[in-house]
Chain length 215, copies 2
């Protein structure tokens, strides 16, 4: 974990950190008993980025946590920036996150940075499947570039899993086939598609805005 946003979000969520490294005088010293003080050269070697912001912390990757409320279902998204952005977005809209297929690691350092602490304000289910989500009562919504129903159809859904596909290929045909509803974002302009994180975020916004009182 790198930087104050991510490390402080983990601490505030009560997560167990193995080691916290920080420059002397870092505010994290007020929050954690055993901070290891290091020089800035050491911090740079510890962190995955070139010019890290302290503190830097080591945490065991937590186990998969099953989703219990409407969620974004990330299917083989390759870009850790997009995965992190959608974890942050789900947390902002009071949704959980399920990850499926063979995409970027949701707990990779780049993903954690892009999520800005979102990992510690939502549930992240690993190796999700459409069948399991449907068994648990979720309405699985596939995001498709054309021929789906309008986004206003999200309005009536209480427990939705909104599936977003990979940047290059979208959702696999079998996921689309198993889904309960296909939704297309109306785009009056001249592009074929928007970025995967943008598509997921628009549907998360639409779902949580449209359901009164939820979640």
């Amino acid at each position: 974990l790198e930087g104050p946003n991510v490390v402080l979000a983990a601490i505030r969520a009560g997560r167990q950190l193995e080691t916290v490294f920080a420059l002397r005088g870092d505010p994290v010293e007020e929050m954690v008993d055993d901070v290891v003080n290091v020089e800035s050269e050491v911090l740079e070697r510890l962190a995955p980025t070139q010019h890290p912001r302290g503190p830097v912390a080591v945490m065991a990757i937590p186990p998969s946590e099953p989703v219990v409320r409407s969620c974004l279902l990330l299917w083989s998204l390759a870009d850790p920036g997009n995965v992190g952005t959608l974890i942050r977005t789900a947390a902002a809209f009071g949704m959980d996150v399920a990850v499926a297929g063979s995409g970027a690691d949701p707990w990779a350092p780049k993903t954690l940075r892009a999520a800005a602490g979102g990992h510690f304000r939502t549930r992240i289910e690993i190796d999700a499947s459409v069948a399991s989500l449907k068994e648990r009562g979720f309405t699985v919504v596939a995001t498709v570039p054309r021929s789906g129903v309008g986004t206003d159809r999200l309005r009536d859904l209480a427990n939705a899993a909104i599936a977003v596909g990979s940047e290059a290929h979208g959702l696999p045909a079998d996921v689309i086939g198993q889904s309960d509803l296909l939704v297309t974002i109306p785009m009056p302009g001249k592009m074929e598609s928007v970025n995967a994180a943008v598509a997921g975020a628009i549907l998360a916004y639409e779902l949580t805005r449209a359901t009164p009182g939820a979640p």
Copy 2:
């Protein structure tokens, strides 16, 4: 310009390319008269990424093009990925783009890649100002993290410039002060904010969906 999406979008838009480099047999040869055939080692040296997809083209940065329809106003966004994502989003929603402040170059190679051809399907105005946009009849909408009106207020706007601030600092106080309307995206979850590109995209979606027949 790197990769088929960006180079082909430029060609289809009738943009003047100075030189087009491609591997022998690249489909771009059907579209441009003077393709310079190169080996893959040369393509790798020409392109800004490590494993480029051909073709690679050189184009003079076009002059600023004043916005003439509702637009996203990008204020000092530092991340070229976010700037490119919002150019792609604006193009998808039939909006223009205005750039202001001191952010990432809208014509940088990283920005072009993230926009996936969006640069050639919208107008991009450089060095925009709130005063000039207002003089030209635009309603300037500032995106603020709290205390703004709801997003449904975008519904009645015909010519809106939606201002999105930098990733770290949001919009400057003077831009907020000069704006006609402050809008806040409702976030029922526990994050303070979403990614800047996500915020701009949600408002672009809301604006273009809510205005019947536009743009």
